[in-house]
Amino acid sequence: MSDLPEYDHAEAGLSRRDFLRTSGAAATAAALAEAPLTHAEEAPAKIATKAIGPQPVQLTLDVNGAAMTTTIEPRVTLLDALRNYLDVTGCKRVCDRGTCGACTVMLDGKPVYSCTLLALEAEGKKIRTAESLIDGGKLDAVPAAFVKHDAQQCGFCTPGFVVAMRAAFDQNPNATPAEIEEALSGNICRCGTYQQMRDAIAALCKNQPGLGARRKEG
């Protein structure tokens, strides 16, 4: 939950609590289950976990900085919650199987497939869609580059690509074109706008200083 300490999972390794559970110095593997629970936040195993659903439940999502509330069954994906229940339609449903990227949104800054995420799983996380990349008519650098270099035709895949690219530059403002292409490897375009996308990528990579700063906070 949001009041527990954040991990830097990739760098800091396990917390001390977890170290006690998994340390090679622990007596047996059974220590994993039998280690005494040492923190108040830990819910004792005996307390039943709350059941959510199957009937519709109220859910509030942080979408582009705004709290949006709806009532959905647990089986509703984040994609369908956004599109069908919250009328946030920038992310698209195409394959609905996590293979084409048209449903890409950012979740706490990371690009994910919203079609293979339950809406409930996104609770408490920051969801950002392509709609956040325009502010009163002014385009963020990434969609602006798409427009300038004509990296869209029918446009149905475009929001997914734009979000994936924006997330990539946010993560690494000094990304090379090859790194950005890798960041787009989970997205498919049927009209074939990749050549124009490469022009956009080249232009964005050249203008690197301050790329991250150009993104609107929200």
Binding site: L4, Y7, H9, A10, E11, A12, G13, L14, S15, R17, D18, F19, T22, G24, T28, A29, A30, A31, L32, A33, E34, E41, E42, A43, A45, I47, T49, K50, A51, I52, G53, P54, E73, P74, R75, T77, D96, R97, G98, T99, G101, T104, L107, K110, P111, V112, Y113, C115, T116, L117, L118, L120, E121, A164, E182, A183, L184, S185, G186, I188
Partner: protein, 331 residues
């Protein structure tokens, strides 16, 4: 998909308490990239979904001088980017870093990757009653099997195990920490996988109410590499994969392990190939010989004999990569 009750336990104990002792009625939810697909196809129709998102003990990577422990909820992206993974186990970083695309890697977890269901298109079609869904035949054997197993001897179901991490972890001698109602146990990754042939079996040996907590990889200083042959450069499944690990003492390969992925219902340990290389220097000639030897025992199906040649090439290239040779195939 069928509707369900959703749970968010905070501990492994709570999670396990929610699972049933038979497959089908309850499922663990990690990244969701496999489970939700299965649900949308009605292949999985659980009444209970047990989300692991808030189980803190499932996150983190910790290095000691002896080994690296990766908690099962670690994402593929986190594994691929981790400093110690990249330093000690370039095979693992490479394998994790090329699975799917960035979105998959941001969502998919180690535990999910090891426990995922197979990708056979007959299995995943609700309207095709194959062995794994309680039917009485395998549709791939006489059907469309270009992506299926080539090590088919004794198998009624000719899926390939879809995990790209598994061959690497097996080659590296990794162990899984598994937790269930009876407590914890360790399972060597080499014994973790299973060839299913009925609706009550899965691609691994866990009981329906067990879960992977972490995987520990011994930091034995082995040279290691993973090589995939893929049709597409972007998001695609490997056609075949070879994962190799060996000690390299005075230009002599010791404790050679060669494990093939995506060619058999379980990751395929190419023991003969490892023996062929054992004690030798890794050269183009010895790597080729090991590659050929790795195809021993292959009994391909009607459409996938091409994978046999790919196995030989993948093993050769993985060995040459691990030994630090120039990658002649990159121009």
């Amino acid at each position: 998909m069928k509707n369900f009750t959703y749970y968010r336990p905070l501990t492994a104990e709570q999670a396990v308490a929610l699972l049933d002792d038979k497959w089908g009625t309850a499922e663990l939810l990690a990244g969701g990239t496999d489970l939700l697909d299965l649900q949308k196809e009605y292949i999985a129709q659980p009444d209970k979904i047990v989300s692991l998102r808030d189980v803190r003990s499932l996150s983190g990577i910790r290095a000691t001088p002896q080994n690296l422990t990766i908690a099962a909820g670690t994402t593929l992206a986190e594994i691929a980017a981790h400093r110690d993974v990249r330093r000690l186990f370039p095979a693992l970083a490479a394998a994790a870093g090329d699975i799917g695309g960035p979105q998959i890697r941001n969502m998919g977890t180690l535990g999910g990757n090891l426990c995922q269901r197979n990708r056979c298109w007959y299995f995943r079609d609700e309207h095709t009653p194959c062995l794994l869904k309680g039917g009485d035949k395998c549709f791939a054997i006489d059907g469309e099997n270009r992506y299926h197993a080539i090590f088919t001897q004794g198998h009624k179901c000719v899926i390939v195990n879809p995990s790209t991490l598994a061959p690497v972890l097996i080659a590296l001698g990794a162990q899984a920490d598994v937790f269930g109602p009876k407590g914890s146990r360790k399972i060597s990754l080499a014994e973790f996988f299973h060839a299913p042939s009925s609706a009550s079996e899965r691609e691994h040996v866990l009981a329906p109410n067990e879960m992977v907590m972490a995987v520990t990889v011994p930091a034995a200083g082995a040279k290691n590499a993973s090589y995939e042959v893929r049709h597409k450069q972007s998001y695609d499944w490997p056609l075949v994969q070879a994962a190799v690990a060996f000690q390299y003492d005075n230009q002599r390969a010791k404790n050679v392990r060669i494990v093939l992925g995506h060619v058999a219902p379980v990751p395929h340990v190419a023991a003969v190939a490892a023996k062929v290389l054992e004690g030798k220097e890794v050269t183009e000639a010895t790597a080729s010989a090991a590659g050929e030897a790795a195809t021993e025992g292959a009994m391909p199906l009607s459409q996938n004999a091409y994978k046999v040649k790919l196995v030989a090439v993948a093993v050769k290239r993985a060995l040459l990569t691990a030994a630090g040779h120039k990658k002649y195939w990159e121009v």
